[in-house]
């Protein structure tokens, strides 16, 4: 790193040159003065004699630069000549590395955008999600009451500001058909917390944030382009919304601004943002929970400190409002963490696999280079005898590898450039996927990879190729005998096999898990079911009676459509992962405070079990009853809490939904269904029967024929009776179920692709290395044959040599896999991490492909013509 130091020291170096040369000129001048010249003339003569000082400085500079720039340029020139001399060899390496580095950079670009970079808001690291929860109960309450949010915001000392939001699906009715728009209702200070302003127009005014103030709405860039063609005139225009509830939300909203295209919050579907007045009379109840709360910390404040601060605030509130606030605690999470969520592990596993792949490629290339080094022994010996130092030669050899790696990484960057689109197409639900781009960080990463690859692939061959003495000796002897260095080459092959086995086992486990998942009996019948949502608003829950009537009317209309067998409501789709875990109390029987009854809570309407083909075991589930809410439980619940005794007739109550106490009587028991996700065993479940459609409620319709054929008729029928509502999210239940495992499937496909590539590379390595040894031992083989050795023995010896390495590689691969399958736990369903079928299958597969890879060169060795070889001597 001398050159680096010389770069840093450049300035002081220049000054030193100057001082040294000036001293010389002064001495010359002095000599001239001593010889009797006038001082001016003496200096002029001295300068003349000395020659150009600037030129001299330039030459001194050259002296200090030469070793770096010139050697590098020379090495590169020579390396380029070698590339052109062996184009096929070079192209193989470049392409292998292009794939290896490209795939690696592509996944890294996703990791960088999704996990590493801070959120794209100004000072994104200051943003946190604030959750309130009840430590005593298991049920998390993620939402906060408006008044409590205002208290937190006022009383804390660690936040710049706090805000909150909730989302509804709204129907915009100024077009010919109602259009469903995702409408976020936001607490004050919303844009202030994000640190952004509208791209066009303005933020809300204080009057607009008050109850009864003018209705204002900010629209997304997407909606702006779609509806207004990107015309700035949109600001000031009005949007009309359906289902107006008197006194709650008037229907006309004035557009006050347009957000920038990169503002995708709460999610990428958000179209509208309106103020939600915190001083509204209906917002004063401390028990209602509306808001998902976001806060911006003051600069330099840690999450822990803010959490402690907010805990103190909540403690004060608990004293002030013991009834509603005493039991609550607060929790803070970095907003990035809550946004990125589960994708983190998938991405790292993906990154691990592409890195393994790159390592295999490197090992493969190292073996290739090592073999080639033997051919170059003569050249290297010549270099040594011409006075090159070992360092020079190693530098030259590494430069050659670097040139290949550099070209490979350039090609790989091309691959990574397409990755952003690939991710957007195949993982549209990946959080922050729109932020994946190819920028200088990825370019830098690819170049660093090239450098790392250079050392990984090049160092071992360079070190071994330049061992003095051996180089000379071997130049003569490699034709007749094989030195101990083939141990290294075989070790490299073994490493490839081991890494490939690791990837194969990972891929195999995921595939087995998917297969198990497909075989699962869900307990309900997902075929012939169409699902849809109809826009609703929370405001409508003010008049439950009207809401129930309206919901019933819609359900009856749906059931009357020809081709419909059954229709019902459900709060969340069966089999799509998700649960609403709450604590309930069973009124009858002894109350054991230590035994908590935790259930998955679902709201369904009359006819749900018939529509989903969930068998009714006892009783009559969900018959409309005007007095109490009928409750149905599943078999797990009945068995867990009532054992052999009857479940019917017991009463359940729950206060988990604050401000919305639930109570009901068990009227029926149904069979266990995998409601919470096909990959999880059914848990004790309580179905509260209620014919009320909240925002987010699904309508499930069982059809006689192809469900998608009914999509349009159903849509039109609903429009006839509910012209101001939009129908959206129309899809079959099967599509939802498939969609919920899209990420698992993609992960499996990618890992399988990598594993197949890895095995192919390992086989190539095995084949190449064995072929090479066969070729250099041609003479020995010829001699043996001439002396009467059997051809089968020759072939067998090579075959065994290759297979021995494969088996040892497999064993190491198994150990490596056993150590790393832990990473997959939680992603597997129905198979253990040490699934013997997978392990045995992988070993068989590897050996099956290793046999032809070793057999070909072995047979070629046995076919050697002894006369031919001996004549060559």
């Amino acid at each position: 790193m001398n050159w680096l130091k010389s770069l840093v020291r450049k300035d002081s170096q220049e000054k030193e040159f100057d001082r040294e040369l000036r001293f010389h000129i002064r001495e010359l001048t002095q000599k001239n003065i001593d010889a009797g010249m006038r001082p001016g003339e003496a200096h002029r003569q001295a300068m003349l004699e000395f020659g150009g000082k600037e030129q001299m400085t330039e030459r001194l500079r050259e002296v200090h630069q030469i070793p770096v720039v010139e050697t590098l340029a020379m090495n590169l020139r020579f390396a380029w000549r070698l590339v052109r001399k062996a184009p096929l060899f070079s192209l193989t390496i470049i392409l292998t590395l292009a794939l290896g580095i490209g795939a690696n950079s592509a996944v890294f670009s996703a990791i960088d955008a999704v996990l590493l970079r801070s959120l794209s808001f100004p000072h994104g690291d200051e943003l946190v999600r604030v959750q309130q929860y009840t430590p005593k109960e298991k049920s998390p309450q993620t939402f906060a009451a408006p008044t409590r949010l205002e208290d937190w915001n006022r009383m804390n000392s660690t936040f710049q500001a706090m805000t909150g939001y909730f989302v509804e699906d709204d129907s915009e009715t100024s077009g010919s058909l109602p259009e469903k728009l995702t409408h976020a209702f936001v607490a004050p200070r919303f844009l202030q917390v994000w640190g952004v302003s509208p791209a066009l127009g303005r933020d809300f005014t204080p009057e607009e944030e008050l109850f009864g103030g003018p209705n204002a709405v900010l629209i997304s860039a997407r909606l702006w382009r779609r509806r207004f063609g990107g015309n700035p005139d949109a600001v000031g225009k009005a949007l009309q919304f359906g289902s107006p509830i008197p006194g709650h939300r008037p229907s006309s909203y004035t557009i006050v601004g347009v957000m920038s295209p990169s503002f995708l919050f709460p999610d990428r579907d958000a179209d509208l943002w309106s103020p939600s007045p915190v001083n509204a009379p209906y917002a004063q109840n401390r028990a209602v929970t509306w808001y998902t709360v976001i806060g911006r910390l003051k600069p330099g404040v840690s999450i822990g400190k803010a959490e402690a601060d907010l805990a103190t605030v909540q403690l004060q509130l608990g004293k002030q409002f013991p009834k509603t606030d005493a039991k609550l605690a607060v929790q803070l999470f970095p907003l990035k963490q809550t946004l990125v969520g589960d994708s983190q592990r998938s991405l790292w596993i993906l990154f691990g696999s592409v890195t393994l792949l790159l390592l295999i490629a490197c090992t493969n290339i190292a073996a290739l280079l090592l073999a080639r080094m033997m051919d170059r022994e003569h050249e290297i010996a010549v270099r040594f005898s011409l006075g090159a130092s070992r360092r020079n030669v190693i530098g030259q050899l590494l430069t050659e590898v670097f040139l290949l790696a550099f070209l490979g990484s350039l090609a790989g960057l091309g691959l990574a450039a397409g990755a952003a689109r690939l991710f957007r197409t195949f993982t549209p639900n990946l959080p922050r996927v729109e932020e994946i781009t190819l920028d200088w960080r990825i370019v830098f990463y690819a170049l660093v990879s090239a450098l790392a690859v250079t050392f990984l692939c090049g160092m071992l061959p360079a070190l071994r190729g330049t061992r003095r003495g051996i180089a000379g000796a071997l130049a003569k002897s490699n034709k007749t005998q094989v030195s101990g260095r083939n141990q290294v080459q075989w070790a490299l092959v073994g490493v490839q096999v081991a890494l490939a086995v690791t990837l194969l086992i990972g891929a195999g486990l995921l595939q087995r898990s998917l297969a198990e998942l497909a075989r699962v009996a869900p307990g309900f019948d997902p075929t012939h079911v169409l699902t849809l949502q109809i826009s609703e608003s929370y405001g409508e829950t003010g008049d439950m009676k009207a809401l129930t009537q309206r919901t019933n009317r819609i359900l009856e209309t749906l059931r009357a459509v020809p081709g419909v067998e059954a229709a019902s409501l459900v709060s969340s789709l069966p089999g799509v992962p998700g649960r609403q875990q709450i604590e309930i109390k069973i009124v009858e029987g002894e109350q054991d405070p230590n035994r908590k009854v935790i259930v998955d809570s679902r709201f369904v309407s009359t006819g749900y079990f018939a529509a989903m083909h969930i068998p009714v075991l006892v009783g009559e589930p969900c018959q409309d009853s005007p007095n109490a809410t009928p409750v149905t439980v599943n078999r797990s619940f009945a068995n867990t809490y009532f054992g052999q005794g009857p479940a019917i007739g017991h009463h359940l109550i729950s206060t988990a939904y604050s401000g919305f106490p639930l109570s009901g009587e068990i009227r029926g028991v149904v069979g266990d269904a995998r409601e919470q996700g096909l990959n999880s065993e059914p848990m004790p479940t309580v179905y509260w029967c209620s014919n009320v459609a909240f925002p987010g409620t699904y309508y499930v319709v069982r059809t006689r024929g192809e469900p998608t054929a009914l999509a349009d008729p159903l849509r039109r029928t609903i429009h006839e009776i509910e012209p101001s509502r939009s129908v959206f999210d129309v899809a079959t239940l099967q599509e939802h179920l498939t969609g919920s495992f899209a990420e698992d499937r993609l992960r499996t496909i990618l890992l399988s692709l990598f594993a197949i590539t890895a095995v192919s590379l390992a086989c190539l390595g095995l084949y190449g290395t064995l072929s090479y040894f066969v070729s250099i031992r041609r003479r020995e083989v010829g001699l043996r044959l001439a002396l009467g050795a059997m051809r089968q023995h020759i072939a067998l010896r090579f075959l065994l040599q290759g297979l021995r390495v494969s088996v040892v590689g497999c064993l190491f691969g198994l150990a490596l896999a056993a150590a790393s399958v832990r990473l997959l736990s939680g992603m597997l369903y129905g198979v253990s991490s040490f699934d013997p079928v997978t392990f045995a299958g992988v070993i068989t597969l590897v050996l099956v492909v290793a046999v032809p890879a070793t057999l070909l060169p072995a047979v070629r060795a046995a076919r050697t013509d002894p006369m031919h070889v001996l004549r060559d001597e």
Binding site: R19, E20, F23, H24, E27, G51, L60, E62
Partner: protein
């Protein structure tokens, strides 16, 4: 000083001469050029244009070491001195040179 009395330095010999002069005592660049001229009785003249690059090259190779010191007339000057590696190098070069010179002399002495 007539042109015919000046001699061009043979390729590669400048380094050896510098090492030799520096071996006598630590000395600055100006001193080296004066010393070579004196000792060779004005036959050899070192061009400053080749002297300084040579000095820096030798120092970079580790044959010379340098330090800033006060010169005989009180000014700060960069003094060069021979390193242990340089001493070895000088001995080797002297040997090579003597062998070469001897060989050339032998050839020249051969009568036709």
């Amino acid at each position: 000083m007539t042109p015919d009395k000046k001699s061009e330095l043979l390729q590669g010999t400048l380094d050896m001469l510098i090492l030799k002069v520096v071996a006598l005592c630590p000395i600055h660049g100006y001193g080296i050029s004066q010393r070579i001229r004196q000792i060779s009785k004005d036959v050899l003249q070192v061009q400053q244009g080749s002297l300084y690059p040579a000095l820096h090259r030798l120092e970079k190779r580790g044959w010379l070491e340098s330090a800033w010191r006060e010169s005989e007339n009180g000014r700060q000057a960069k003094f060069y001195k021979l390193s242990a590696k340089g001493r070895k190098q000088l001995a080797q070069e002297e040997l090579t040179w003597q062998r070469l010179a001897g060989a050339i002399a032998l050839i020249l002495q051969t009568s036709e």
